[in-house]
Symmetry: C2
Subunit: 128 residues, 2 copies
Amino acid sequence: MPTPVATSTSGHGSAEPRIKSEVQCCVPSRGEEALLAVEAETLAARFKALADPNRLRILSIVSTSPEAETCVCDLSEPLGLGQPTVSHHLKILVEAGLLNREKRGVWAYYSLVAGALDSLAAALTPKA
Amino acid sequence: MPTPVATSTSGHGSAEPRIKSEVQCCVPSRGEEALLAVEAETLAARFKALADPNRLRILSIVSTSPEAETCVCDLSEPLGLGQPTVSHHLKILVEAGLLNREKRGVWAYYSLVAGALDSLAAALTPKA
DNA sequence: ACTAGACATCGACGGATATCGATGTTCCGA
DNA sequence: TCGGAACATCGATATCCGTCGATGTCTAGT
């Protein structure tokens, strides 16, 4: 049940703004039909994980890697970032529910969470 | 031509990590096939516009309003934000190419840019 | 046991950002 | 012509975020 940015229902009147002060200028927009504050908070948290170029490149590299999984050492060099920074970004992506983390021996392998990006994309297309 | 997070092509060998130091541990991932740094930068800039709960609610309110357009005064109250803050968020959304701004008289009407959110959603679903 | 390597965590620092109050600008009505 | 309303912009501030070096933890060989 993906939550679109725009919920569908709407019912109104008064398209043109009023002038007087005791009446709202345009459409009052009771606000209950639209995105709740809590929903917006969680959605924004997930988009925040995507709001960094290096994290987008991490997702890209992980998804294009042959086994669809990547370890930290593969990311540090192409991104031009230090290992602690890469680990930091990976942690954010895991906590956002976008990446899986699997420790095998000394290496940590990261892979895309199936359907996670699609769920976010669905939240952007209310007409879905 | 939406740019998916993950570009499709890939060709590799050596799925298992090597041990020696002069060889990369896992998959070298030349990095040219994946998301370029510049592409990632512009994509991240647009996601950054979505990475705020109040901006998501603005998009929701605008899209659910009867004429699919809203003026600032309609947003200030339901969001619980001051007018300068709302104007600030609207400016960010306009600069991200997500909202149109049309000044009619004293009021400024904002509406969704057609296809903008869909283009962003498409960037998240490489299989499209 | 000891060493070495891969990764996570910590502390710090500089830059970005969300928010506000105050002020400027533009348009409309009286 | 003047006052007011809607909105943008400015300046300030508190917080958040990305990055790094240093350090801790765990595993695999030797």
